[in-house]
Every structure is written in C-alpha cells, then in structure tokens.
C-alpha cells in the first residue's frame, strides 16, 4: 500500500482525518437531537441553546434525546477505540471488542437482572448487573490465561468465556418464568439506545471514560508491537503489563457500554477496518481515529433506526449487524483482490 503524497487523508499522523471525523461526530450528535417521532427540530433546539427551553419541546430534547445522543456517542467511542486497541494488540484485523468475552458476560449479568425481576424494581439494576458480569469475565481471563500468557491464550480464554456466558444467557431464556420475560430478555439482547435516561448515562459514563483513559496511552506500545513482542519488549515496553491494561480498559468501557445498551455488533470490527489505511496502518494512530469513527457510525445508525422505525422499534444492534455483516464481506473481498 502506498499512501498518496499530498492527500489530506493519508499523511501518517493525519490530523486532518481527526478533524473531519470530529466534525462528523458533532453533526451526527446534533442530528441525533433533531430526529425522533415527535416533530421537535431546529427551532426548538435553537430556543434551547438560547436558554429558552420551555414546555414539552425542551423536555423531549433534554430528557429524551440528549441522554440517547450522549450514550450513542460514548458507546460509539468505546466500540471504536477498544476494537482498534484489541486489533492492534493481537495484530489481527478480525478482533472485535467482544472477543475477550466481556460483551457476552456483561449481557449475561444484565439478563440475570431481567430474569430475577430485579430490573423491574429499580432502573440501575440492569446496568449494574452488566458491569458485574464484565468484571467477572476479566477476573476469569486473568486466572485462566495467567501472567505470562501469549495472545493465543487470551483469544482462547475469550472464546471459552463468550460461549459459556452465551450458554448461561440461553439457559435464562430457556427457564424464564413466562414468555414475556423471555421476550424482554431477547429484545434487550438485540441492543438499543432507545428510552435511556440520565441515570444510565451517569452510571456508565465514569466506567467508559476510565476505560478510555486506560486504553488511549497504549498507542506507543501498540506501535512497537508492529515488529512483534520481542522487539516491543526490547524497546522498553512491558508486554504483559500492556495486555493487562488492554483487558482492564476494554472490560471497563465495553462492559459498561454493553450493560446499558446490550450488544451492538460490528461497529468495533468495521470502524478500525475503514480507517486503518487512512492512518498508514499504524495501530497507535488508529485508536483515536477509530474512537471518533465509532461515534459517527453509532450515532448515524441510531438516527437511521429512528427514521426506519414505524410502530415496532427497529433495534440498533440488529441494524448494525444487518449492515455490518454484508459490508464486512465486501471488505474481505476487496482485501483479497489487493492481497491475493
């Protein structure tokens, strides 16, 4: 791959790309505030910005659409960032945030709350259950894959945890006290940003932001890992510590994201793919770009969900997988042509 000289998008460290993605994210965020079943739009948003929020319009913007947009942005950043970090660490473009088992365990934790009925008692039960599930997964990974384990052990442990947590989730659906509970679980698992409140934003935000803060400094070691673990270690990076940091950071942000929204697939897989060449294939530079790209994609998809839903809500996780799956196949075919 040769990066075209002079192009705004292909200079290696690419500040232009970050600016464009940042602008897009901002536009998508505004769009997320403007689109919805009720006709609250530009005028009302402008009123709100002038400090004249009043009546139902202000309420819809501030209490319904704002938390949804905030969550969409944060979940998008989380998926894009953790996907890029995992791919960089594992040196594998097929890695995605759920790979280490955090998504499946967070889902299971939340499902337990629905199953036991605790979710109906207080709003935060669901996300709290999810976060506990994510931490359980991390503890298991650290025990199973040990201190000096390689990438293969991490992947294998992740696969084992994912399938076990999925099996437990299926068991919960299987044994659900009534069909409504099964339906509720299944709908929740599909992943959605609809009807989220500030409570959930405030609960998830600290974990997500903490996760980002753990992942973002990994840029330099991930760059060093281009040349393999031995070279990275000889360049002064403690690869075992990098791995612990990666698992902890991913668990914090992906666990919290899954806990409030359910599983939103393909964003963490596709976004790093789309942006990788734009940063000269450098895993360190890819992280921030992918975080912004994830926000763009998640917010845009959530706007599309609202436009496409009539009556029955189309779930965000269903839409991202529906678009993401074929799109990913196309990417693979394109990559095969370039790399026979």
């Amino acid at each position: 791959m040769r990066s075209g000289p002079g192009s705004l998008f292909s200079s290696p460290d690419n500040p232009g790309l970050l600016i464009v993605l940042g602008l897009f994210s901002g536009v998508a965020f505004m769009g997320s505030l403007l689109v919805g079943p009720s006709s609250v739009g530009w005028m009302e948003l402008l009123d709100l910005l002038w400090g004249q929020a009043s009546g139902p319009a202000g309420l819809i913007l501030l209490e319904i659409r704002m938390p949804r947009a905030l969550l969409g942005m944060m979940v998008g950043v989380t998926l894009g960032l953790s996907g890029a970090a995992l791919q960089g660490y594992l040196r594998n473009p097929l890695a995605e945030p759920g790979l280490i088992g955090v998504s499946a365990s967070a889902s299971f934790g939340a499902v337990v709350m629905i199953y036991t009925g605790l979710a109906g008692l207080f709003t935060l039960a669901l996300p709290l259950g999810g976060i506990v599930g994510a931490f359980a997964a991390v503890a298991l990974i650290q025990v199973v894959s040990g201190k000096n384990a390689g990438t293969l052990h991490l992947i294998l442990a992740g696969i084992a945890i994912t399938s076990f947590a999925s099996a437990l989730t299926s068991l919960a659906i299987n044994l659900a006290p009534n069909p409504f509970a099964s339906l509720e679980i299944m709908f929740w698992l599909m992943g959605s940003l609809a009807d989220r409140s500030y409570e959930q934003v405030w609960l998830a935000a600290p974990f997500m932001i903490a996760g980002w803060c753990v992942l973002l400094p990994l840029g330099r070691p991930l760059d060093a890992l281009i040349l393999g673990e031995d070279v990275a270690q000889s360049m002064g990076f403690n690869v075992a510590r990098v791995r612990t940091q990666l698992v902890a950071g991913t668990a914090l942000c992906v666990g919290a994201a899954t806990a409030v929204t359910g599983t939103i697939g393909f964003v963490g897989l596709v976004v790093p793919h789309l942006l990788r060449k734009r940063v000269g294939n450098k895993p360190g530079s890819l992280m921030l770009a992918s975080a912004l790209g994830g926000a763009c994609l998640t917010l845009t998809a959530d706007i599309a969900v609202r436009i496409l839903s009539h009556g029955q809500e189309l779930k965000l996780g269903v839409l991202t997988a529906l678009i993401g799956g074929p799109f990913f196949l196309l990417l693979i075919m394109k990559a095969r042509r370039e790399w026979p």
Binding site: P12, A224, L227, G236, K282
Partner: protein, 262 residues
Amino acid sequence: MAVKLLQLSGISVGFDKASILIETDFSLEAGELVGIIGPNGAGKTSLMRTIAGLLPPHSGEIRFLNQPMASISDRQRARQLAYLPQGNESHWDVTVETVVMLGRLPHRESWKGPSEEDREIVSQALDTCDVSQFSDRSVNTLSGGEKARVMLARALAVKPRLLLADEPVAGLDPGHQLDVMEKFRQLSQSGMGIMMVLHDLTLAARYCSRLLLLFDKRILAQGKPQDVLSEENLARCFGIRAHIGTTNQRPFVIPVQRYRPD
C-alpha cells in the same frame, strides 16, 4: 582502553528448570564485533534474549555500562541497547519510514510526535542502510534482503551503544550478506558494540573481531576467529570435518563431511 559495555558473570539461562547455559562469563567492549556460533540448540538465541532483557537469567549478574542490568529501567536500557531478532516480521502493512521511526520510540516522550532530531536520525539510518529510496514503500512489498536492511535501520535509529543481532544475514543472497556484514563492520569501527549470532562460519571468520563458540551449555572457546575455528572444535561441536584456509588473505571455512570423533 575501550569502554566495557557488557559484563556477564556466572549467568545461567533456561526455560523452567532445564538449563540451556550454565555459569557463563563473557564481556564485550565498545568497538567489538563478536560472533556467537554453535550448533542448533546450543543457546545462542537464549543468550541474546537474556542480554536483551527478554529472558530473565536463573542466576548470575549482567552488568551493562558498568551498572547492574537489573537496576536499569526498561526505558533506559532500550535507549542504549537494540535487539534485532530473527524473522524481520512486520505485522501491519506500514511504510519503511514508519518502521525505522519505531526505533526512536524509547527516546520520545509520550504523546509527542517525532522531533526534528528524530527525523534527522531516521533519515541517517535510512541512508546508512541504503533504504532511503523506498522509505515511502510498504515493508511487506520488499524483498528479503531489503527487509533485513530496513530492520537494521530500525535498530540503528535507536542509536544504541550495544546492538544484538540474531542471524541478521539468514536468508540473504551472498551479495546482500556481504553488504550487511560490511555495514556491521563499519558500525563497530565507529564504536558500537555488536554481538551477533551467525551460522555462516566463513562470514564469522572474516568479519568478527572475536568469536564465542557455544556447546553443551557452556562457552567451549572464545577468542580470535582463527583460534576458535580449529579443526578439533568444529569436529566436536558441529560434527563436521571442515576445510579451513585463506584466499587473498581472507579466511574461509568449508564443511566437507560429517565426522564425529570418538
């Protein structure tokens, strides 16, 4: 007197409980080009990895620049010591310049981009290894010889006092082998300490200022190439009878046949 870069005393190396090297003593001064030879499995790579800080020794002490290696931070060590492993792999499809710039990572502060000095050093390293003409190309499109020179340039961009190279000429054609060995000789003459694992005994004899022959978990011989590469040592370590001679005052070693002394 030249600066003593490295001093190993009583170093034992191994995986789990099995030892690969026992009680090894060795030292290296600035300007030396030391070749490590020995049969497969003699512990050449393990010795290199131990010095590079990748494999903790079971016992003994390593001193680097007159300080115990254990007391030097990873970052400090990485600024003075470069390790060039076998394989020359690049896991992502990055440009040659990106790879060479990685050599500056130990010197750069977090969050900061490369400085003017970093760029200058990288461009020197690219020139030294004759790879500046394809600095924009992807490493994965290069030939084996070109790639080996790019990886060497990456190690040189560290500006190390000590360079550890594990079979740097493996898989190169004879012309490129000579090119790379010449480069190592120039570097050592300019004051860098170099330690390399070699399988080609002729190159070892011609280019190294000193050879270290590893056999049966120990250093069997070390010293000037002509002393180490004796018929007796070659028979004992490699199980070969070799023709050792000189042509135009340059030594050569040709393995002739399998031979095991009783």
